[in-house]
Symmetry: C2
Subunit: 199 residues, 2 copies
DNA sequence: AACGCTTCTTAGCGATTGTTAACGAATTCG
DNA sequence: CGAATTCGTTAACAATCGCTAAGAAGCGTT
């Protein structure tokens, strides 16, 4: 059932039938148990993934064994070590299922070949990259500009991000905000008592 | 003399003569005095710029009048309110000359038209967006993951970023690192006395 | 139902950061 | 060239944050 996947790509530009037909044979379903990894550091031949159901997180494993979670994926999101795909390098991060996941995968190499072969895919590839860049820029500015508490308040005030509040354990959300779990807990306590907070 | 500009685009993919010829008539030189703005919040019909000489900074002007510098541009860098160009929105930030600048400009609308008209340009547009995304992701992870002091140490330990140390006043560099000028001064003092720092 | 693991909260302590302010040095501009 | 602005450092104080640790609550599993 790759309808959903086609709809996702279509958000970035029209997907003509022949372009779609060229992708379709390479789409594979994949299931992930809780805590199973979709990518791991050092992996080659990376996959592009599309989350049909479930939720996943992405984290960097630091040399000292500490995990740094930086992003989450939910139903109908695409997921990949995008940076590694783009730069043609082995994976540098781990993407791990937070819940059991069903997903569709396409080798990133196939996407790259489609970029070459179909203007429609190249267009979509450009728009995806632009979309990713725009999102990262917004988040970077937030992180540089706002205090931890202000970042959390902004998150709470942004309905589009409430999936994070609802589906992500707090200590992982803390990492996403660039703070420690203890700090986030304190911030929440402060805001809960301190009364209504304006942004 | 748009040779330099062509070389810049060529970093992302081949620029056939006919593709180049289609761009060339739209290239305009522009000079910026110190502190002059290349873009300002609210601007429409945004330009893509290419810095021939000089340096510039990008900042967001907050409602309370505070400036938040988030990026710098040096010789042979491209500059634009990329996010606004991509999303087709009016500019949200200011790009201002740190020193007198000479640059070349192309209306972003022209680039978009070229994306449609030439596969070579579409390819280059994709690679630029991917490059930007990869850079932003790296910086975001740094910012989320490292302490202010660690971020500064990393900067010092990264030769590729020494243009920042050399050409940017310290209080602006502090903003780039997401800290206050006072803090950066203290960090520097700490590291200067505290002896050799491992990363 | 009981066990164990994960998650969240709270506390204490030390260190870093933000804020404000003052001073001198450097730079810019008229 | 001189005055005005900008820039960097330092100090003092309050607030926040990271770290460590302990305990309670929740959840899943057997």
């Amino acid at each position: 059932m790759p309808h959903r996947l086609r709809a996702w790509f279509s958000k970035f530009g029209p997907v003509p039938d022949e372009a779609w037909a060229a992708l379709t044979p390479h789409v594979r379903p994949q299931a992930l148990a809780r805590h199973a990894a979709f990518v791991q550091p050092g992996d080659h031949d990376l996959l592009f993934g599309f989350l049909l159901t479930g939720a996943a997180r992405q984290f960097y494993l630091l040399p000292d064994g500490i995990e740094r979670t930086t992003y989450f994926f939910f139903q109908h999101d695409a997921l990949a070590d995008y940076r590694a795909c783009i730069l043609g390098q082995p994976a540098a991060l781990t993407i791990e299922a937070l819940t059991p996941c069903d997903l569709l995968t396409v080798p990133y190499a196939v996407l790259q070949a489609l970029y070459d072969a179909f203007p429609a895919w190249e267009r979509i590839g450009r728009r995806i990259a632009e979309y990713v860049a725009a999102g990262l820029e917004a988040r970077l500015v937030e992180t540089l500009t706002l205090s931890p508490e202000a970042r959390y308040r902004l998150l709470v005030a942004t309905p589009a991000k409430h999936k994070l509040l609802e589906q992500v354990p707090q200590h992982l959300l803390a990492a996403y905000l660039g703070i420690t779990p203890v700090s986030l807990s304190r911030i929440r306590a402060r805001l809960a008592s301190g009364g209504a907070a304006r942004l």
